[in-house]
């Protein structure tokens, strides 16, 4: 999943970046409003960590612009201010959560995880679909308590499709969210099919998976 870290303090940004990358997210850092808006335009982000005091403006401007596009992006505001006004203002403009600096990285990860889940309409820590249970925090999948051995990429694909259940997810979207920003124009995405094929084979051993659809040449969909 793609996370945009909007933070002008480079040290803090790198710290968060390293931590989230190790947790399994694909991250990018934007150091000011302009960079953030541009990144937001050029990539499909699942979540954004937004610092309010940016060198070229207020983080709220970014938040407003992002919300105007009506995209499903989780926004957590990071701020040193902590004042009540900001909180109300932020939540009013559509921030999904708040963290006051300084914060523990584990706290950040937990909040991020919760917000992403909530946005996709899940309330539990684990996603379940047709008897499969995805334990998001430790990347485990099981079927009726029988563990299934998935690779990291297979897990990511499965999780992303489940989070966006009942939606057609194109190959391009999958590449972007799981492999990250590929600069190359017209890169072939056959390798996605390989991973999906393997994933389906592994799932198919346990139960019929006709709910795991291939949508023509376009992409995939998991129906509830």
């Amino acid at each position: 999943m793609n996370i945009l870290i909007v933070e002008d303090n480079r040290e803090l940004a790198v710290e968060v970046y390293d931590f989230l990358c190790n947790t399994g997210y694909i991250c990018k850092i934007a150091k000011n409003c302009a960079d953030a808006l541009e990144e937001f335009g050029s990539n499909d982000y699942d979540a954004m960590l937004l610092d309010l005091g940016l060198p070229d403006g207020d983080g709220f401007e970014v938040l407003q612009a992002v919300r105007k596009t009506k995209s499903k992006i989780a926004v957590i505001v990071l701020t040193a201010r902590g004042e009540l006004d900001d909180r109300i203002n932020g939540l009013h403009l559509g921030a999904d959560d708040y963290l006051t600096k300084p914060f523990a990285l584990t706290e950040l990860a937990a909040r991020l995880f919760a917000v992403i889940r909530r946005i996709h309409g899940f309330t539990l820590n684990n996603l379940s679909i047709h008897g499969f249970l995805l334990q998001l925090q430790d990347y485990k999948v099981s079927f009726n308590e029988v563990p299934i051995n998935l690779t990291k990429k297979e897990f990511d694909i499965f999780q992303y499709l489940v989070l966006n259940k009942n939606r057609v997810i194109t190959r391009l979207q999958l590449t972007e969210h799981i492999w990250g920003d590929i600069l190359e124009v017209n890169s072939d995405s056959n390798f996605i099919d390989v991973h999906v094929r393997n994933l389906r084979k592994k799932l198919d051993k346990h139960t019929s998976i006709d709910w795991f659809e291939t949508v023509r040449n376009v992409g995939y969909r998991i129906n509830e």
Partner: protein
């Protein structure tokens, strides 16, 4: 500057010195000639037969001449009866050696022919030149000493004074021009200069730099505007199309068309991003102050690209073994190598090979990325780094990857060499600068 001045001065002095004897002689001879003419005039005016007879009779020998010498032989006067030849000049000057009372000296001699009471006479009045010669020598010596002293003094004065005068000039060159890589870093503090010219130069330079900085700023602004103004609608459009795709009532044809549009949008977005990336690199908008370890970069890349490498059945051989640390922009270097490797994947044969290899060539670190692909012809090699160039018409790809690679390499002063054998493969070699340079 000072040396050039001294040389021209030396030349002038040499010319003067060479002209000196002629000048001195001219002046001295004219002076002597005038004296001689004066004496002649006095002699002729006071002339009478008795005097002539006195002169000639006192003569011991029979040559009928009369000579009179001053003491020390500095002057003499000789009168003799000599018939005047026709067409002979009445008065003439000459330098001649004469032996007078056993002593040979050079004299300036006035020869005057005249007729007195039907008798032709020749009058010779001489003035010794030996003193004049001595005098000329002393003058020459004196002048040469003075000239040499002047030369030395002016040379030293020039050197120091010019240095002092030009100090602001060199300061302007150093602080305002040489050390400025980016207009934004330009130092606007005025240079302290006594001379108005340099203050003006400084002022004009400042103004020029302001204009350049303004243009730079505008370009950056433009790039940022373009990216925001173009990419935001693309993102919006993409969201809309993706939502449209969820509509179950769509027929297959419509789904295909939407998917096609999404693909085109994605391509558009990537082209814009790539062009912006090139502009930013060429606009020096990146910092180059990170330590980059190539082992790490190659390992990360291999991990990222493993799926695509496997998909083509390519064998990826990583032979990078040196712990070379390069100072630059990590993101850009990552993109540089990423682009070369994806290029090697794209143009490889199925079940081909990619070898990444590093070595030190005479202290210069280099990394080569070699594929076993279709290879390139000479004319193709010339074009591959151009924007939107593509190797063959049947391959897709907008050909920006290598243009970006070239910009990044230029930004880091890295040289890219390409060697290729048709149908056997291509090798891209990155030659790193010996002393890491960065902007």
């Amino acid at each position: 500057m000072a040396i050039f001045n001294a040389l021209t001065r030396l030349l002038v002095i040499l010319v003067l010195w060479l002209m000196l004897p002629i000048l001195v002689e001219n002046v001295v001879y004219r002076h002597i000639n005038n004296g001689l003419i004066e004496k002649k005039k006095k002699f002729i005016d006071n002339l009478n037969q008795k005097e002539i007879n006195d002169f000639i009779e006192n003569q011991d020998d029979s040559t009928e001449t009369y000579s009179q010498f001053s003491t020390l032989h500095s002057e003499f006067l000789v009168l003799s009866r000599v018939p005047i030849k026709p067409h002979q000049k009445k008065t003439s000057f000459s330098n001649e050696y004469r032996i007078i009372e056993g002593e040979e000296n050079e004299y300036r001699i006035l020869q005057h022919h005249f007729t007195y009471e039907n008798e032709d006479y020749q009058l010779e009045i001489g003035s010794s030149l030996s003193e004049v010669k001595d005098l000329t020598f002393i003058i020459k010596l004196f002048i040469i000493i003075v000239l040499v002293v002047i030369l030395l003094v002016t040379f030293l004065a020039d050197t120091f004074y010019i240095e002092y005068l030009l100090k602001p000039f060199y300061k302007i060159i150093d602080t305002k021009i040489r050390r400025v890589n980016e207009p934004e870093l330009f130092d606007h503090t005025p240079i302290k200069a006594k001379s108005r010219d340099f203050r003006e130069l400084d002022l004009v330079l400042n103004q020029m730099m302001d204009r350049i900085a303004e243009l730079f700023k505008k370009e950056k602004q433009f790039i940022s505007n373009v990216s925001h103004e173009l990419l935001t609608p693309i993102a919006l459009l993409k969201n809309k199309l993706e939502n449209l795709l969820q509509n179950d009532s769509l027929d297959d044809n419509a789904v295909d068309k939407i998917a096609g549009s999404l693909k085109t949008l994605d391509m558009l977005k990537k082209i814009i991003n790539n062009l912006l990336l090139i502009s930013r690199i060429e606009n020096n908008q990146y910092e180059a102050n990170e330590n980059i370890n190539f082992q790490e970069i190659i390992n990360d890349l291999q991990e990222d690209l493993q799926d695509r490498i496997d998909d083509k059945g390519i064998q990826f051989v990583n032979k990078v073994e040196y712990d070379f640390v390069f100072r630059g922009n990590k993101t850009l270097i990552h993109i540089l190598i990423y682009n070369l490797v994806t290029n090697a994947i794209k143009y490889n044969k199925p079940d081909g090979k990619i070898v990444v290899f590093d070595e030190f060539l005479e202290n210069q670190y280099s990394i080569s990325i070699t594929d076993s692909g279709i290879g390139l012809t000479e004319s193709q090699i010339e074009n591959i780094f151009n924007r939107f160039a593509r190797v063959s018409s049947d391959q897709e790809g907008q050909g920006l990857g290598l243009a970006i690679a070239k910009s990044i390499a230029a930004f880091h002063h890295i040289e890219i060499k390409v060697t290729s054998v048709l149908n056997q493969g291509t090798s891209f070699v990155l030659l790193f600068p010996e002393t890491p340079k960065h902007n």
